[in-house]
Amino acid sequence: MTDAGDRPETLSRREMIAATAAALAAPLLPVPAVAAPSRDALQGRFLTPAELALLDELTELIIPADDRSPGARSAGVAAYIDGRLAESLDPEWQALWRSGLQAVDELSRELNRQAFLPATPDQRTAVLGRMAVGEPDPKTLPERFFKELKRWTVRAYYTSKIGIHVDQEYKGNVYQRGEFAGFDAT
């Protein structure tokens, strides 16, 4: 099942907003039934190249590469989130991401007098640190966006090949010899 069929990938942002507004008004979204989800559906892009680059850097700051495992960038986290945004039927959710990314740049200008990506690594970390201050109880847009950003970043990372096999060294979901690990209570 995919909604890519009723949303051409060439849709401009303005058309997209119009289309999603119409979708909001409709009581029932016309979703065509298709037998199986296709991976191609996820290659539709929602974010602009600039937004995607910003998201990519943010995810890597949340889960960076270290001596054990590669980080969110290598795990393709930003592209995965972008794919989910592109096929979403929830315009509110899409709008949160767009305005959230914008707010990151705005916060960076406020703190660093320049946009997020051109800033130094320390300056970028300071921006994210400011956004993370409200993690237990987010209030401002940057704080709310941090929570959403982190939630999706960790979901995407720890369900990726790198997250499962390299970072977590997960041992299951493969054929075993039939012995259960652990203490025998008998």
Partner: protein
């Protein structure tokens, strides 16, 4: 390791012109067991299942890695799984006026919802009304056994004779001694793993090889033992030594990821009704299955008042049919069987079939859940990662309240289900604050170091806790829907408070640091253990069925699912449902032979 690949014998012609010995409505644990026992006794049986025959391995894709799924297991856009919040702030029908194309119960909101989208009903076509209730329904061959939690427990005379113990409610018309031989049969036929503990309130089964406890669980077990309480490995309805008599199932080999999504075992080491009961019954040549068959009325002979068959709609063609049979057996689930009885009104049975007592739909009960604790086993932080989820479940702490003692705030009891150790997805990431290198290392170091458990408590049956037919609202097939009149009471709330306090004490006494406490009671229905609504009893004025789940009013009508339970106990009901159905169907087969039905 050889995996059995035997095609299920599912292609059949259904002859509705003949009169079957028995027609069974429903193909879950109860319906499957009825089919097994009756065909074994030589009866010719027709089984009606409202849902589809699914190629279940293709639905569940048990070994698919999250990254091989385009949405990491999530259902496609336009599909929605209801959240706790929605169940709380809105009233059913929950899918009313929603923009989503498909709406599923909360089970569809877990990670992995794409795997259950054809198993769960779409709430849009299956509304209900009344008080808040998280009603989880699986319409497909095997029903909820395709996604069940696998905890397989026996009841004891603390449950069957609960009224004698504390004065509340009704005793069951049977005692443990009546049912024990049938629990044994279920154990041997289907396989169950566990450890003998010799507890009077949680009788042992005939166990196959148990799964093992890991470090955190053993630590808690040893600590509890000092206060006379027990933590035992999960008693799972899983064959760990194999079943020589069943060619559709393989033994568990500890693969892991058993808790990754609701149920789902492609080698069928876990019991499910199709491979455990239905396919073997079909191999006898005595069982015919008609899927896509939505029963809407039990038909009654106007002269004798006896059941003569079942009227049903084909879910695809919407055409109406009649299945004729000498005996009618309802096994459609606690709530659907009650609905079917209430729908079956006739001049002889104006209040619904088998409802001269007025008790159909009443005495509805289940388990209360939600409260629980999470702890950190500090010694495990930073330790190498191990395989801990190659088990059907973690541990179970049997009831310890109101056995010898009398609690001031509540009667009856609860047990804890829990587990510890590594899982494929490190769920504690959502509770780990911050970001960056330290965040990532903390997540990695703490993976597998947590232990958590939640209570399952007995909800008291009350006459006023009931369902009836909504006079206005109909489902997608034009059939009147259920209306709920059901809410937890003070006893459940007091018990839930005790779960939190006691869970915390248990962890602290074991030297496990409590890092999370859930206090909130989840919406009614969340346990998916709905029971009652057509209870057994000796008095036809105060019960619907006799001790053999036979209608007091209509002697060729049986209701063999959870609706017959007199009280909920705090033990998970599936094994008891099957033991009761086995016992009743042996009686049924005997009476059938004698011609008394």
């Amino acid at each position: 390791m050889t995996l059995l690949k035997v095609s299920p014998p599912l292609q059949q012609d259904v002859d509705l012109s003949q009169t079957y010995d028995a027609v069974i409505v429903g193909s879950g644990a109860a319906g499957g067991m009825a089919a097994h026992v009756l065909t074994a006794h030589g009866l010719r049986v027709l089984m009606l299942e409202a849902g589809k025959k699914l190629p279940i391995e293709q639905e569940l894709r048990s070994m698919e890695w999250p990254y091989d799924h385009p949405r990491r297991g999530d259902a496609p856009p336009g599909s929605h799984g209801l959240s706790f919040n929605e169940y709380t702030i809105r009233k059913p029908p929950y899918a009313k006026a929603t923009a989503f194309k498909h709406v599923y119960s909360y089970v569809g909101g877990w990670s992995g919802s794409d795997y259950v989208k054809n198993i769960l009903v779409d709430e849009k076509d299956h509304p209900y009304t009344g008080t808040n209730y998280a009603w989880v329904r699986a319409r497909c061959l095997g029903g909820k056994t395709n996604i069940w939690g696998r905890l397989a427990l026996r009841l004891s005379d603390y449950d069957f004779k609960a009224k004698s113990h504390d004065g509340y409610g009704e005793d069951w018309p049977i005692s443990y001694a009546d049912l024990a031989p049938y629990y044994d049969k279920v154990d041997l036929y289907l396989g169950i793993s566990g450890v003998k503990e010799n507890l009077p309130h949680l009788p042992d089964s005939l166990f196959q090889r148990p799964t093992k406890l890991n470090y955190g669980e053993v630590k808690l077990r040893h600590s509890l033992a000092q206060t006379g309480r027990v933590l035992t490995p999960y008693r799972a309805g899983v064959t760990t030594d194999g079943l020589k008599h069943n060619r559709y199932r393989s033994k568990c080999y500890g693969r892991g990821a058993c808790n990754r999504r609701p149920g789902g075992c492609d080698i069928h080491a876990v019991f499910d009704s199709p491979t455990g009961l239905i396919y073997p019954a079909m191999d006898t040549g005595k069982l015919t299955i008609r899927p896509n068959s939505i029963a809407y009325e039990v038909l009654v002979d106007p002269n004798t008042g006896k059941a003569r068959g079942v009227a049903f709609l084909d879910s695809e063609t919407r055409k109406s049919y009649e299945a004729k049979a000498k005996v009618v057996i309802l096994a459609a689930s606690t709530l659907e069987s009650a609905r079917l009885l209430l729908l079956s009104r006739s001049p002889q049975h104006p209040n619904g079939l088998g409802n001269s007592s007025g008790h159909v739909g009443h005495n509805f009960c289940e388990h209360v859940m939600g409260p629980g604790v999470t702890g950190l086993v500090k010694e495990l932080v930073g330790k190498p990662h191990t395989l801990d989820d190659g088990r059907p479940g973690g541990f179970y702490i049997p009831r310890f309240r109101n056995l010898q003692d009398r609690q001031p705030g509540f009667i009856r009891g609860y047990g804890f289900e829990g587990s510890s150790g590594h899982t494929m997805f490190p769920r504690h990431v959502f509770d780990t604050p911050g970001f960056g290198a330290q965040f990532k290392k903390t997540v990695r170091d703490h993976a597998g170091a947590f232990i958590s458990m939640g209570g399952f408590g007995e909800v008291l049956p009350r006459y006023e806790s009931h369902v009836d037919l909504d006079p206005d609202v109909k489902d997608g097939w034009g059939i009147p829907v259920l209306r709920f009149h059901y809410q937890f009471s003070d006893n459940e709330r007091k018990m839930a408070e005790d779960m939190v306090a006691t869970g915390r004490e248990m962890f602290e006494a074991a030297g496990i640091e409590v890092v999370g406490v859930d206090r909130e009671v989840l919406t009614e229905g969340w346990s998916i253990h709905e029971l009652g609504t057509a209870r057994m009893g000796t008095d036809p004025k105060a019960s619907v069925l006799n001790q053999f789940q036979q209608s007091h009013d209509v002697r060729n009508l049986f209701v063999v699912d959870g609706s017959s339970h007199v009280s909920a106990s705090c033990q998970n009901p599936t094994w008891t449902i099957m033991a009761l159905a086995w016992r009743s169907c042996e009686y049924l087969a005997d009476e059938f032979r004698k011609g008394t039905l």
